[in-house]
């Protein structure tokens, strides 16, 4: 089985964000890291590598400097990397990014693509489904459990009330949520081996993507304004004085907040 894990380089969530004049995140202003959600998609791929001898390639769309992110992903024990780097990609929206990823996937053989369900910077959750749509393959999103048997992939798709069991034939595209596993840390031998794993860097032209399908100028979505998230409001404290009144208060609160 061949697996491709698309990963993203994102600003460190712990660091202060800088939004540039073009209303996109200034990626050079702060520390950038492998998107934390990718640790879960990588872990899932590594498990399939261990259990089914899958060959796993990491795919990254991003600037030259993101190579360290590809190496970081490889340090978990993946087999090789494919990086799409082109100045024309800068400022692409989710759809533009999906076009590039779809073309990159078309350039390789694979049975399964494992995305994180969202990235910690944009959090649109659009890319996995968009790529599946562009390629005309099944899309199994929000997986909190994933199993591959023969030609069939089965996932537990998480939603507010629980999960659905969804099944598809390979090739298929899956996106995983953080509940799916507990990611390991890369071992030191993994880190050392990552240095010499094959890594192909390709341009849009190599993939046959024309520059007018991508980039800020061709984005379908436009960002007009942004605002920092308001600080969390103080919670409600219900004190139990032993009279049983607290239970009623708690129940009222839950009804009020539509939990019950």
């Amino acid at each position: 089985m061949k697996i491709i894990v698309p990963v993203k380089r994102t600003p460190d969530t712990a660091a202060e964000k800088v939004i540039g004049d073009d209303r996109t995140v200034d990626r050079d202003a702060g520390e950038s890291v492998l998107c934390p959600v990718n640790e879960f998609s990588i872990e899932e791929a590594v498990r399939l590598k261990e259990s089914q001898d899958a060959e796993v390639t990491v795919l990254l769309v991003g600037p030259e400097s993101a190579q360290s992110t590809v190496r970081k992903a490889l340090s978990y024990g993946l087999d090789g990397g494919l990086q799409v780097t082109d100045d024309a990609i800068a400022g692409s929206d989710a759809l533009g990014t999906a076009r590039v990823i779809a073309k990159a996937l078309e350039s390789r053989e694979w049975d399964l693509v494992i995305f994180g369900n969202q990235s910690t910077d944009a959090r649109t959750c659009l890319v996995p489904a968009a790529v599946a749509e562009l390629l005309g393959v099944p899309s199994l999103t929000y997986a909190r459990h994933l199993e591959v048997e023969g030609d069939t992939v089965t996932v537990h798709r998480e939603h507010e009330e629980g999960w659905d069991v969804v099944e598809a034939q390979l090739p298929a595209i899956v996106s995983v949520v953080e509940a799916i596993n507990e990611p390991r840390y890369p071992s030191f031998k993994g880190i050392m081996a990552a240095k010499s794993k094959p890594l192909d860097v390709v341009s849009l032209a190599d993939l046959g993507v024309s520059a007018d399908e991508v980039g800020a100028g061709n984005a379908a979505a436009t960002m007009y304004e942004f605002e920092p998230r308001p600080p969390k409001e103080a919670g409600t404290v219900v004190e139990d004085d032993g009279s049983g009144a607290a239970a009623a208060q708690l129940a009222d609160w839950m009804v009020d907040k539509k939990f019950a």
Binding site: K72, S75, Y185, P186, S187, F188, K189, I191, M192, K195
Partner: protein, 378 residues
């Protein structure tokens, strides 16, 4: 000055992450429960951290002493008993790896390097601490093998280790009468006493090991030759002292981190106590002392990496770093004031742990003895 390679930088970054996320949060519980953190040692093993400085042919990663010691420093910064445990494990493994016959090396080293076995080093006895060559545990020839009788003392990992490097007497010829044996935990005739009740490092058991006519095969005599045990023990300790120095720097750094954080947040007289020069200068001295100790142990490690004799500089690093840790952890408690004396904050534990580092692997008096003798020897 040695520059870290990219994988080495990634290694330190990985260790910091694991230490902050998995090790530091668990430390207090293991300490309170007086249990050795085997799960955390296994975690280190899974990340290839239990055999870093050893050669690839025994499963190691072949990193420099300097890099290995940086890892010890980071682990200790999160949890002293585990950091010292890693150092002691490596000391025992190094002794075996360096002095074993090729067959013994193949047989005894890979499991230690992989961390599936935990190592221990047993030189001291109740009657022979600083004067280690006065040890009396005997290994008497018996047919093809030996019979060991006697009591070893102060064994770090005693009772939880899987493999011990044990020094015992094969003749009455002083230091030349000492031999080293590789003894496994299932050794018949060997029992482990209950661990000592001590000031700190409760998660690192220190115990006596009693040999009562214990039959030991001849192929467990390290190097296959009698009389080489004391040399093995002393050479191992040289590296071990750098390990303790790295532990001390990690501990001092942890105390400094806590003190700085608290001094910025605690307010008296209407402002953070860090604004008072009396506190700020204390922090400055703590930082300077820690950095000086760090520079010294890393310089000693580089000399070892270059194959130079490090007897004197290793003793210097051990004494400077552990004295720095003692002073810095004491000062950290001072910065905290009353709460620093309580178990609500970790600095009281750091202070107790620092005291142990001034005594293990040769007291600081013995280090000064080593340094002064090397200065005045003709």
């Amino acid at each position: 000055m040695h520059r870290l390679s990219e994988p080495e930088l990634a290694l330190i970054e990985m260790v910091r992450e694991v230490a902050a996320e998995r090790i530091a949060p668990a430390a207090d519980r293991y300490e309170r429960e007086h249990t050795f953190p085997r799960e955390l040692f296994d975690l280190l093993a899974g990340l290839d951290l239990t055999g870093l400085p050893f050669a690839g042919e025994v499963g190691g990663s072949g990193v420099s002493q300097r890099t290995y010691l940086m890892v010890v420093e980071e682990v200790t910064r999160a949890f002293a008993a585990l950091g010292m445990g890693l150092s002691v494990h490596t000391l025992a493994t190094w002794g075996i790896d360096t002095y074993a016959t090729p067959a013994q090396r193949e047989r005894f080293v890979p499991d230690l390097v992989a961390g599936s076995m935990l190592g221990a080093y047993s030189l001291s006895e109740t009657g022979s601490g600083s004067d280690a060559a006065a040890l009396t545990t005997r290994a008497v020839r018996d047919g093809d093998g030996y019979r060991l009788t006697g009591t070893k003392a102060w064994v770090t990992h005693g009772g939880v280790a899987d493999r011990y490097l044990v020094m015992a007497r094969t003749s009455d010829d002083g230091a030349r009468g000492i031999s080293a044996f590789v003894i496994d935990a299932d050794q018949p005739g060997m029992t482990v006493a209950p661990p000592e009740s001590k000031i700190a490092m409760w998660a690192s058991p220190t115990a006596q090991i009693v040999f009562d006519d214990a039959p030991v095969d001849a192929d467990r005599l390290l190097g296959g030759e009698e009389g080489r045990g004391f040399g093995t023990a002393m050479a191992s300790l040289e590296g071990g002292r750098l390990g303790i120095a790295a532990c001390a720097v990690g501990l001092a750094q942890a105390a400094l981190d806590e003190a700085v954080r608290y001094a910025r947040q605690r307010e008296q007289f209407g402002r953070p106590i860090a604004d008072f020069q009396g506190v700020g200068f204390l922090l400055a001295d703590m930082a300077a002392r820690t950095e000086a100790a760090r520079a010294l142990y890393r310089s000693a490690a580089e000399q070892r990496d270059q194959g130079l004799d490090i007897g004197r500089v290793a003793a210097m690093a051990k004494v400077v770093a552990t004295d720095a840790a003692m002073q810095t952890t004491t000062d950290a408690v001072q910065v905290f004031g009353g709460v620093g004396l309580t178990t609500d904050v970790p600095v009281e534990r750091y202070l107790r742990e620092a005291k142990i580092l001034q005594i293990v692997e040769g007291t600081n008096q013995i280090q000064r003895l080593v340094i002064s003798r090397s200065l005045t020897a003709s």
